[in-house]
Amino acid sequence: MILQIKEISIFSEIFLSISIIFLTLHGVFLSYNKFNKFLLLQNSILSLAVLILVMSSFLIFNEHLFILDYLSFNYSISNDYLSFLTKILIGVITIFFLLIIEQYLLDQKINHFEYILIILYSVLGLFLLCSANDLITAYLAIELQSLSFYLLAAFKKNSTFSIEAGLKYFILGAFSSGLFLFGASIVYGVVGSINFDDFKDLFFWLSPGNKFEFLQTNLLQFGLTFILISLFFKLALVPFHLWAPDVYEKSPTSSSFFFAVVPKIAIFVLLLRICYYSFFGFIDCWRYYIIIISFLSVLVGSFAGLEQRKLKSLMAYSSISHMGYLLISFSTGSIEGIQMLFNYIIIYMISGFCIWGIFILTRLKNNYSKKGNKDLGDLTLLKKSNKILAFVFSLTLFSVAGLPPMVGFFVKFGVFLSAIEASMYFVALFNILFSVISTFYYIRIIKILYFEKILVGKLYYPIKTEKFIIIFLFFYLFIFLFINPTFLYLISYKVSLLFF
């Protein structure tokens, strides 16, 4: 007799949420009383959080063993290859993220153990977002994730910078979630269902003679536009990007790290499910403004990044331009488009991890000014303090700029290949010219690392070996993926087959 439990499809999420509750109780009872002298618990909670994430990722990795059907909970949770891959990626990167930020938390005196728990809550939200199969589940997951992010941005209560970042993020994020609900309600009003599968059955092949053609009204496109705009807000695309440099600059660096690297893939999953799975028949509607938005993002990301002096705003503009490139391959509407999208976003996550990891690990040693954030000049002559770190940093920057022979060139080439195969020649032409402009600010950082002629660079605290090994692991993955990118190609191909 086979025991069929309906809730087994979100087993790993249930495990994660129960363990977060346990951790909260553990933390509260141990640290918030005078008897234990208000014990500081971050390190132990951090290790426990890593353990929990490892176990959840293990559960997700083996989900094909106990999850039998792809759709469950009245078709609102889907457990297919796409959700599997993205959940694994998010879990693994968050594990390494938690390992790296340990010293940063001690340094910046973020003494509340709730920081780690909020990160775990946002991971829970991201997991649910990856497997969401209807609009309300997606909205709930986005809200859970965004609320945690607002708290992460505003975590340093004694710094006006941090509070301002949190407030800006909260207001704009809540506004965009409102737009999402507005669009979702219009779509529900027209169609009568909120499920992506129902949308697919109705709208996937829109052609004359389709008996549901009466549903293809302008009102539906109107609602769809609002949903897409709210998702573009989350991704920080032009012209909805104005919050990103401020929030990235002013939040604590570990929070900016998390914002820049981890949630983008989950929101892309939702975008893929909406645009390619449910509303593919409307491709002629959403395709054109995605092309325009991608063009503007690459333009703004390249040109505005030239003026930046602060490192975190520079990375914010660079991630705006990367999202622009992703949207180019998203707008092609072909299998190659989705395949190259996944290639690019996986490499974006890995290289973003390396760069932000290096930002977090290098701590300036100066007693005269306690400024928190790094300028461009703070990396001066890193080659003298730490040759290997400078080498890793410069090769990662070359890859982010898209220069051969790094793997970043390969994925950028893939994006433009999918654009040209879809005959979008002018799009490819202008975007590739703007990519040269953004190359300039990447090699400017390399210039600062290597070329300055002053005699003494800035002093840094030494980096612990195990943190360095993590960065080096990601860097090796980089080099390996250039020599043998077959693995990357295969997983992205398997994902893209899901939609056709």
């Binding site: 051969p404 040209i420 090699i443 210039k447 290597y450 070329f451």
Partner: protein, 492 residues
């Protein structure tokens, strides 16, 4: 056993510099002598292997030889295919000849970060030999662009003064801007044909409009490497600010990447577009020759004059390439090689004097024949080679180019020859100012003639120039059939 080594010779040539790099990383930075010895040994070993390539080259055929195919991504039809034919053979030999000379000339002049310097040069040698050997369009592009990274670091870190950063940026962004357009055309070709294998591409023919647009994008990329007017601005900056060895490699090999790209890719793949755009290329080349020759007369910096002569000679090579007959293209290849010898040695000459006195301005030098006679002899020899004295290699190159382009278009030949006459003007002026006259003792007091190491640096270049000038058939015989094959592809 020997046959098996011979079959895989290109792999050894490609990966010897990388092995040298690997060994160098294990040697401590304090042991400067060992570092220099290891680097020099590996580069000389590479040179000897390329000599084997030359000796065992089959001169009676135009197909690719020593072909090695390594499968990289077979499902995408992207494979690592190496091979040489007559056109690329001598560029490979030239590259592997110039790198040991670079190490020799920087024996005493590079003090800080010696290990990284040697590693950058060896990695650049790997990429350069790769560019000339690879028979796959996308991988050619990857290696073509990868040369930028070590060169950027060499100019920026070991350059001589503050303007080096501007020079490094110019070099990088000019070349990158041209080549991203080429990337788009490569993607288009890949999506049309399904593979970027060179031998397959040769069998394909594009429509007229496609050819025109693709030709233009390829042209932008190679034109900024050649360099042609008006994208030549990076060359004087980069040459002046780079260290001596960097200038030698830049003038000797990197400029040839552009002309090699023209011969290898542009002529056979898009022949009708070449005919269509040839007036455009003629005017740019003629303009380049005359304008840069006139500009060189007015310069005060020694290296800048040589940089402008490089531009003039390379534009003459462009004239030869677009003459579309055997004599012209053979002259173009020969002039590229001879320019590789002559211009590199002129930069070595300036490097010697710069090592001693640390200035490049012509005003401060004078009467060096009285105190450095051996140096004056070598300087005279290479100045005459630069002008195109019969008996030296550049005469053969220039003569063949002018004969070839006379067949196609006589007025352009006239303009090109005028440029070469002006070339005599500034070369002789430069030589006269520095070598003859009175010693300018108000600036310098101590003079040392060249030592054995520096003389031996020049020795292979002098031998090469004389042999190419007196017995050009040694160099012309291997390339004959390959050039014939190329022209057959174009015309029929």
């Amino acid at each position: 056993m020997f046959k098996m080594i011979l079959k895989n010779l290109l792999i050894y040539i490609l990966f010897l510099p990388l092995t040298g790099c690997l060994l160098l990383t294990f040697i401590s930075s304090n042991n400067k002598k060992l570092l220099k010895l290891v680097a020099l040994n590996f580069s000389c070993l590479t040179f000897i292997c390329t000599l084997f390539l030359w000796v065992f080259f089959n001169k009676s055929t135009g197909i690719f030889q020593f072909v090695i195919k390594i499968f990289w991504l077979p499902n995408l039809n992207l494979n690592f295919i190496l091979g040489v034919d007559g056109i690329s053979l001598f560029f490979v030999v030239l590259t592997s000849l110039l790198i040991p000379l670079c190490f020799l000339i920087s024996w005493n002049s590079i003090e800080r970060n010696l290990k990284e310097y040697l590693i950058s040069f060896l990695i650049m040698e790997f990429f350069l030999i790769g560019v000339f050997c690879i028979l796959d369009l996308l991988l050619f592009y990857i290696f073509f662009e990868s040369v930028l990274i070590p060169m950027f670091l060499i100019i920026g870190v070991w350059g001589s003064r503050e303007r080096k950063i501007r020079a490094a940026y110019f070099f990088f962004i000019y070349t990158l801007l041209g080549s991203v357009l080429m990337l788009l055309s490569i993607l288009y070709i890949y999506s049309e044909i399904g593979t970027t294998d060179y031998e397959v591409l040769l069998t394909f023919s594009f429509s007229k409009l496609e050819q025109n647009i693709l030709w233009l994008t390829f042209f932008f990329s190679f034109a900024s490497k050649v360099p042609m007017i008006p994208v030549h601005l990076w060359l004087p900056e980069a040459h002046v600010e780079a260290p001596t060895a960097g200038s030698v490699i830049l003038a000797g090999v990197l400029l040839k990447l552009g002309t090699y790209g023209f011969i290898r890719f542009l002529l056979p793949l898009f022949p009708e577009a070449c005919f269509y755009f040839s007036p455009f290329v003629y005017s740019l080349s003629a303009l380049g020759i005359v304008y840069t020759s006139f500009t060189a007369i007015r310069q005060t910096d020694f290296k800048r004059i040589i940089a402008y002569t490089s531009i003039a000679h390379m534009n003459l090579v462009m004239l030869g390439i677009f003459s579309f007959n055997t004599i012209g293209i053979e002259g173009a290849i020969l002039q590229s090689l001879s320019h590789g010898f002559v211009a590199s040695s002129l930069f070595l000459i300036i490097g010697i004097v710069y090592d001693r006195h640390h200035t490049r301005i012509v005003k401060y030098y004078g009467g060096l024949v009285h105190v450095m006679p051996l140096y004056s002899f070598i300087f005279l020899f290479f100045t005459m080679a630069n002008i195109g004295l019969p008996g030296t290699s550049s005469f053969i190159g220039e003569f063949l180019i002018l004969v070839g382009s006379f067949k196609t278009n006589t007025s352009i030949t006239f303009l090109g020859a005028t440029g070469m006459v002006i070339g005599g003007c500034y070369s002789l002026w430069l030589f006269n100012r520095i070598i003859y006259g009175n010693l300018k003792t108000q600036y310098f007091n101590e003079f040392i003639d060249i030592n054995k190491r520096e003389f031996l640096t020049f020795f292979p270049l002098i031998i090469g120039t004389i042999f190419m000038g007196l017995l050009p058939n040694i160099f012309l015989a291997p390339i004959h059939f390959s050039v014939n094959f190329l022209i057959e592809l174009m015309v029929f």
